[in-house]
Amino acid sequence: MPEYIEVIWKTMVVFLILAILTRLIGRKLLEQITFFEFVTGVTIGTVAGAYIVNAIKGAWVLLSPVIFTVCTIGLGFISLKSLRIRKLVEGEPVVIIQNGKILEENMFKARYNLDQLEMQLRNKNIFDFNEVEFAILEPTGQLSVLKKTPFLSATLKDLNLSTNYKGVATEIIKDGDVLEQNLKQNNLDFSWLYNQLRDKGINDISKVMLAMLNTDGTLYIDLKGEKPQYTQKVED
């Protein structure tokens, strides 16, 4: 077989396998990936790359990425089921500031220095240590901060104001298509939708880009072709 044809089909096989395996491992943005997942990913990538490039090797090399994926998924299930294994594999959050006091010992154990602490506090818009009640270093390297109550943003509860319920808005129309199931979930039907649209002067559903039903009963509607007077021209 000519070499270039071999490279083409080998690459396609690897692409397909990687597409399936990564889907099985789960959907994640690169920035959400942990060190372990990343290092596993590089290993899988190296093996798959070696399969394409190294002429001597047989297809058995491709077993390795499959085994890796099975192990990763298995470990995920085990740590989901057992508290103890989860602690062992994933580590646990470390309290860095407690009641406004910095815990040096915990910082040392977590190999976390003062510059990092200051940086992550600044990132959370905290420029004054006095405002911090608790700071916890998560196993993922992020810092979670609880401010002292006088320094938290004032909420409606602080002001003793009553509030209305607010839930997640439901998509009713998307790209001109009505999502029937979502209508039914809210005990609404097409005649309700038509009435709503007619009230807004819309007689063609396909002209609607997006319609969302808020939990207070109002409707957000965006039409296709609706535009402010000036818009940015995106150059490509």
């Binding site: 920035e31 959400q32 990936i33 942990t34 060190f35 372990f36 990343f38 290092v39 596993t40 990913g41 590089v42 290993t43 990538g45 190296t46 093996v47 070696a50 399969y51 190294n54 090797k57 058995w60 090399v61 077993l63 390795s64 085994i67 890796f68 192990c71 470990l75 508290l83 062992l88 594999v89 994933e90 580590g91 009641n99 910082m107 040392f108 977590a110 190999r111 976390y112 220095n113 510059d115 940086m119 600044r122 990132n123 818009n125 420029f127 009640e133 608790f134 916890i136 196993p139 993922t140 390297g141 109550t149 006088p150 320094f151 938290l152 943003s153 004032a154 602080d158 002001l159 979930q185």
Partner: protein, 236 residues
């Protein structure tokens, strides 16, 4: 040895090794890794990947990921102990905006353009430069922004409102298991817990998914079978 069995063994060895090494280095997210840690990770991954593929090379190759991990951990301790060393390895934060004035010289030194500045300010919700008092470019490339005090969300302190103390909630029950240590820390016992659960109509602890004790003495309870009328169906 049969190549299939060999690849199975080699992959399993690498997997276990990576689980252990990743646990030692810490479960950081990729977005929290420095460029140096990123490169080290790729080196570890490709070394273990090559070990799986290259049948000719012996187990000596696995020493390399271990040494890299030791070096990474050692470097962490060194930077923890010495300020000067930390500055050298990690770099230091650069003030980009001070008292509302942009510092061009610092921008030049940090090779940081106005477009970068505007992008990261927008990301922090600061669309008007008038609102910015301080902006600091951190050593990991993120921008910390302190807005002028009149543009910071209102806190109870600004309004002279009194607040009640708010600390960290304590986990009491997790996955149906009582965390005894946390009960004792709060000078509570099983009797108290049973009474609380009975008040909430729960007769079996294993029915409880999660119970949190808030610092105001209230209990957050989530039962395993509790469900809203409609739930999302996760397709896989």
């Amino acid at each position: 040895m049969n190549p299939y069995i060999e690849i199975l063994i080699r992959t399993l060895v690498v997997f276990v090794l990576l689980v252990i090494l990743a646990r030692i280095i810490g479960r950081k997210l990729l977005s929290q890794l420095s460029v140096f840690e990123f490169v080290t990770t790729i080196t570890i991954g490709s070394a273990t990947g090559t070990y799986v593929v290259e049948r000719s090379k012996g187990n000596v190759m696995l020493l390399s990921p271990i040494i890299l991990t030791i070096c990474a951990v050692g470097l962490g301790y060194l930077t923890l102990k010495s300020l000067r060393f930390r500055k050298l390895v990690v770099g230091e934060p650069v003030v980009i905006i001070q008292n509302g004035e942009i510092l061009e010289k610092n921008m030049l030194k940090a090779r940081y353009s106005l477009d970068d500045l505007e992008r990261q300010l927008r990301g922090k919700g600061a669309f008007k430069l008038n609102e910015v008092e301080f902006a600091v470019l951190e050593s990991d490339g993120t921008l910390s922004v302190q807005k002028k005090s009149s543009y910071i969300p209102v806190t109870p302190k600004d309004l002279n409102l009194s607040t009640t103390y708010k600390g960290l909630a304590t986990e009491i029950i997790k996955d149906g298991e009582v965390l005894e240590q946390n009960l004792r820390q709060n000078n509570l016992d099983f009797n108290w817990l049973y009474n609380q659960l009975r008040k909430n109509g729960v007769s079996d602890i294993s029915d409880v998914m999660l119970a949190h004790l808030n610092t105001d003495g209230t209990l957050y309870l989530d039962l395993k079978k509790q469900k809203p009328a409609y739930t999302q169906q996760v397709e896989d």
